[in-house]
């Protein structure tokens, strides 16, 4: 039998909350682990990390966009500014996996593009493969991003945008940013697809290209400014150049502004509680299927119970898991 040693979840949670890097690393490993014993520990870890702070601290940011738009370089430039302002940053960089029948492997190349050339204790990067989630985001991403939020000021999730990804990212991030590539068909497709209603902030990278960048920015500006989603949010479109490091500072002020906008209107806690419910449901369904969900009363019932305990939905998650497992094992 294998010797996968699992850490004690409660002790681990305490160390993560103190910001200990080795603990963050083993916490992420645990959340990624599919062994039955590890699933139990994961649920306990998430429950132990839960609390009021989960609804109002830190900033969870999704960055998405077509391949080649320069997302990693832009994230690197953003990190440089945040670190200069002494804010700590956790990054989850998601790359596509090859198809399962081709081995399901992945080359995770974002780290090399994002990291600083010098050693930095205030930056933590975990690369992830999307594991063929039909274009969406792997289920692991969500609990991992929450773990990172327990110990970093800012958590960035970077993914290639291919439709479903944006929808998934919008169910994780407080603020979603779309990085557009000037003069590219991808952006036109994007404008047509309707997914444009998801991002809160738009960046047109490679602004050093001049006219094509301005053209793309104005196209997005025309489509994005429809005030149909969140009243009074202006959906800024920013011209930036990661390569030249221009426009980054003013671009970043919009992230802080958006977070303040959510807090001032009492939307942040609500948004996060809603995201948590959706993902707890998705985790339960992935592990136990529709049948498992029925064993704890079905979707509506689960939704209600999570709503009642919105500061600690993971504790609720753990209780429901235990309940389903006991029903499975008792043959009931």
């Amino acid at each position: 039998m294998t010797q996968v040693k699992l850490p004690d979840p409660e002790q681990l949670a305490a160390r993560i909350l103190r910001g200990e890097r080795p603990a963050v690393a083993s916490g992420l490993n645990l959340l990624d682990n599919k062994l039955a014993a590890a699933r139990d520990s994961s649920a306990r870890l998430l429950a132990a990390l839960s609390g009021e702070r989960w609804l109002n601290e830190g900033h969870l940011i999704g960055v998405t966009g077509p391949p080649g738009a320069g997302k990693s370089s832009l994230v690197a430039a953003m990190i440089r500014e945040w670190r200069l302002a002494d804010r700590t940053v956790g990054v989850l960089a998601v790359d596509p996996s090859s198809r399962p029948e081709l081995g399901g492997g992945a080359l995770l190349g974002d780290r090399i593009r994002i990291k600083n050339s010098s050693h930095d204790e205030g930056l933590f990067i975990r690369s992830l493969a999307n594991r063929s989630q039909l274009g969406g985001v792997a289920t692991e991403v969500w609990p991992m991003s929450w773990l990172m939020l327990a110990c970093f000021d800012i958590v960035v999730i970077e993914t290639v945008g291919v439709g479903q990804t944006e929808i998934d990212i919008a169910e994780i991030g407080d603020t979603v940013c779309y990085v557009a590539q000037p003069a590219s068909g991808d952006t036109i497709q994007y404008l047509k697809s309707g997914i444009i209603e998801i991002p809160d902030i738009f960046a047109v990278n490679k602004s050093d290209l001049g006219a094509p960048a301005h053209k793309t920015a104005s196209e997005i500006g025309r489509s994005a400014s429809r005030p149909d989603r969140r009243e009074n949010w202006d959906y800024p479109v920013c011209l930036v150049s990661a390569a030249m490091h221009t426009g980054i500072q003013s671009f970043l002020t919009h992230f802080d502004r958006h977070r303040r906008f959510l807090v001032d209107r009492g939307l942040l806690g609500e948004l996060r509680a809603r995201h948590q419910s959706a993902w707890v449901m998705r985790l339960l369904k992935e592990e136990f299927g529709t049948f498992g969900l029925e064993l704890v009363g079905g979707r509506a019932d689960i939704g209600q119970r999570l709503g009642e305990n919105r500061c600690n939905q993971f504790a609720e998650y753990e209780r429901m898991r235990m309940h389903i497992l006991s029903r499975f094992t008792s043959g009931g």
Binding site: S26, G68, G105, G109, I112
Partner: protein, 672 residues
């Protein structure tokens, strides 16, 4: 029978690529080589010198004096050329990112010795493009790097007219896997980018531009397929002639000649039965001397034991003697071009030219070579070609004697000696170089140094030619690291696109059961047993930038189902351990070709232990002699792979078993 001595052509320049430990030791070696009939010098610099770091920089640890000579300041340059008359020597320097600096030290030294710069002859390699693609000793981003190249060209055309300021390299493209067509196309695209840049600088009057074109020379590779290689060089000549006339209006045909130097292929040299490399090297040399119209101007041959470690003086002498036998004993130099008029050769040349034209158009359509590098296109093409080559070796379609066929061999007397048939660099070299540098810093005039560096920074910012201020820095006693850092502060540093996101090996889609499908099942079942997919970190510690091997391992591991974090080159041991921790990997794979594996691997192991990651297995690949492999195993390295391990499937099989053992799982039975 004694052949009558006919009128013979002048032979090419004969060189040996060399330099190690210290300026003093290298100078002694150069003088010995010249006494043996070598007609020019080819200086190998160590990695800190090539990447603009001082010997006492943390990144230089373990690298000082390893792959070449350390040159930290003008006194080192003086010692390197002690008793060698600069005005009579033809000196080739393999130097790129810091070429403007090393050339400044050379010119500064000549000035100090009272020698007119107009009498200096030689070459600075000074081609940054292939550093981005293959060799890895880049520093600055493409824009400022191309500007430095243009500056050295415009300066030398005016002040050092016999100098070849840049040597456009197709050599390293072939080492990175380029086919002859790719080699032709990318080298010519590079030359166009350089010439266009010089033209755009406006520093050269239009009527003087043909002289600039004439000073562009090339550094070419020749592989074992010597007929095709010979055709490639004829194709180069024709295409260059055409291009310089059409694009740059060079009317004088003599100024359109394709001038090139050669180092023959190292990629095909083998560690098993290394004596076979001798005939490989000789055949490869034929490719660049047979055709008079396409004959090399300068040749340096690798030593037979290059795949095993650093060659000894005797090994280098043997390589020089090969050239001398061809030049002086054979009748080759008595004839006009012996391939002219052959329809077979003409057809092959035409084929290559057509293929290269198409690829040049393709690159131009993407905005030229710089844009195609920044987008990752060229890197992907090269890694793809290299992968095809390795797959062909594995399948046996490409035969390599002693490697994938005819492996049986008697014990070679060549490798029996107690030195393992390779040379060891002086282990005290690093410490001595640091002491010498620190003493130098105390002896110079600080005000002069400060003023000279300020002048350098001002020139870098204003766009004024970088050479005059660099020469002033050389004379003031500025160090290599100070020159490099001053420009880093102005220009920034290059961040590579990963470029290894090439298409997966999909030959197995049809459900054919073979080693790859077997490996995929092994990776998957091991991942399942451990609870999550197997994750591998691949990186290169130290300053060595030869990333081809690391990239091939990364691509192959992805093909068989690993999730691979490719962390690139020039990493400190601390960064590698930190990445291993943050990424939660099951294994760390290190690649080191510079000979500094002992120091670097030991540091990585220490850093891992300091992070409680002693249980994460470390494997190493590179040019690592057997004695060192044993020492690494004793330190805790779980496997060492060298050039003789050409079968990537076997390496993957072994890696999976190492991960299994380290996690309490049983080894899997051998494949087949």
């Amino acid at each position: 029978m004694v052949a009558v001595q006919k009128k013979r052509d002048q032979p090419w320049l004969m060189r040996t690529y060399s330099g190690h430990s210290s300026a003093k030791a290298s100078n002694a070696l150069y003088r010995t080589n010249l006494a043996k009939g070598q007609t020019g010098l080819s200086v190998a610099f160590d990695l800190p010198t090539q990447t603009g770091y001082d010997a006492d920089s943390p990144l230089a640890r373990g690298e000082v004096g390893k792959v070449g000579v350390p040159i930290s300041h003008i006194e080192d340059m003086d010692q390197l050329f002690d008793q060698i008359p600069l005005d009579q020597m033809n000196t080739s320097m393999t130097i790129n990112a810091t070429a403007a600096w090393l050339l400044s030290l050379y010119i500064g030294l000549a000035q100090r010795r009272g020698i007119d710069a107009k009498k200096l002859s030689g070459t600075t390699q000074n081609d940054i493009i292939k550093e981005y693609l293959s060799r890895g000793t880049y520093i600055y981003p493409p824009g400022p790097s191309m500007r430095l190249i243009a500056d050295t060209i415009t300066y030398t055309v005016k002040h050092v007219p016999k100098w070849n300021p840049t040597n456009i390299c197709s050599y390293h493209l072939q080492e990175a896997g380029a086919t002859p067509v790719q080699e032709l196309a990318y080298a010519l695209c590079t030359a166009m980018a350089v010439l266009d840049r010089v033209k755009a600088s406006g520093e050269i009057r239009p009527e003087a531009f043909p002289q600039v074109v004439e000073r562009i020379s090339f550094f070419v590779n020749a592989g074992i397929r010597f007929v095709e290689e010979c055709c490639k060089l004829r194709a180069f000549g024709e295409m260059w002639d055409e291009l310089t006339l059409a694009r740059y209006q060079v009317e004088d045909a003599r100024l359109r000649r394709f001038r090139y130097g050669v180092q023959v292929n190292s990629l095909g040299l083998t560690e098993p039965q290394p004596e076979n490399n001798v005939q490989r090297i000789v055949l490869e040399m034929l490719a660049v001397v047979l055709s008079k119209r396409a004959r090399a101007r300068a040749i340096q041959l690798p030593a037979w034991n290059e795949a095993m470690g650093l060659p000894r003086p005797w090994d280098q002498q043997w390589a020089l003697r090969m050239q001398q036998v061809v030049a002086f004993e054979t009748d080759l130099l008595e004839y006009e071009d012996i391939l002219d008029g052959s329809p077979v050769i003409a057809a092959k040349v035409r084929d290559l030219i057509e293929g290269a034209r198409r690829e040049i158009e393709n690159v131009e359509a993407q905005g030229g070579i710089i844009a195609a590098i920044e987008s990752g296109y060229i890197k992907r093409e090269l890694v793809g070609s290299h992968m095809n080559r390795l797959r062909a070796i594995e399948s046996g379609d490409l035969k390599i004697i002693g490697v994938n066929c005819f492996q049986e061999t008697a014990q070679s007397p060549l490798t029996l000696g107690s030195d393992g048939a390779i040379m060891k660099t002086n282990p005290a070299a690093e410490r001595e170089q640091i002491e010498r540098l620190q003493a130098h810093r105390k002896s110079r005039n600080d005000d002069d140094v400060r003023a000279a560096l300020q002048g350098l920074v001002d020139a870098a910012k204003s766009g004024e030619n970088i050479m005059p201020s660099s020469i002033r820095c050389a004379l003031a006693g500025v160090s290599t690291g100070e020159w490099g850092d001053s420009l880093r502060a102005v220009f920034g540093e290059f961040r590579p696109p990963t470029g290894i996101d090439i298409a997966i090996d999909s030959r197995e889609v049809l459900g054919k059961r073979d080693q790859v499908t077997d490996l995929r099942a092994r990776v998957a079942s091991t991942g399942n047993a451990l609870g999550r997919p197997l994750k591998l970190l691949v990186g290169k510690p130290g300053l060595d930038g030869h990333s081809n091997g690391a990239e091939q391992i990364a691509v192959k591991a992805r093909d068989v189902g690993f999730e691979v974090v490719y962390d690139g080159i020039r990493l400190t041991p601390q960064q590698i351990a930190q990445a291993a921790q943050e990424e939660g990997v099951h294994m760390v794979g290190l690649s080191i070709l510079s000979g500094s594996h002992m120091e670097l691997v030991e540091s990585v192991l220490q850093e891992l232990r300091a992070r409680d990651l002693a249980n994460v297995p470390v494997i190493a690949g590179g040019i690592i002699p057997p004695q060192d492999a044993e020492k690494l195993a004793a330190l805790g390295v779980r496997a060492v792979y060298t050039p003789k391990d050409f079968n990537l499937n076997s390496i993957m099989e072994d890696m999976i078993n190492v991960i299994r053992e380290c996690n309490g799982l049983e080894r899997l039975a051998s494949m087949q």
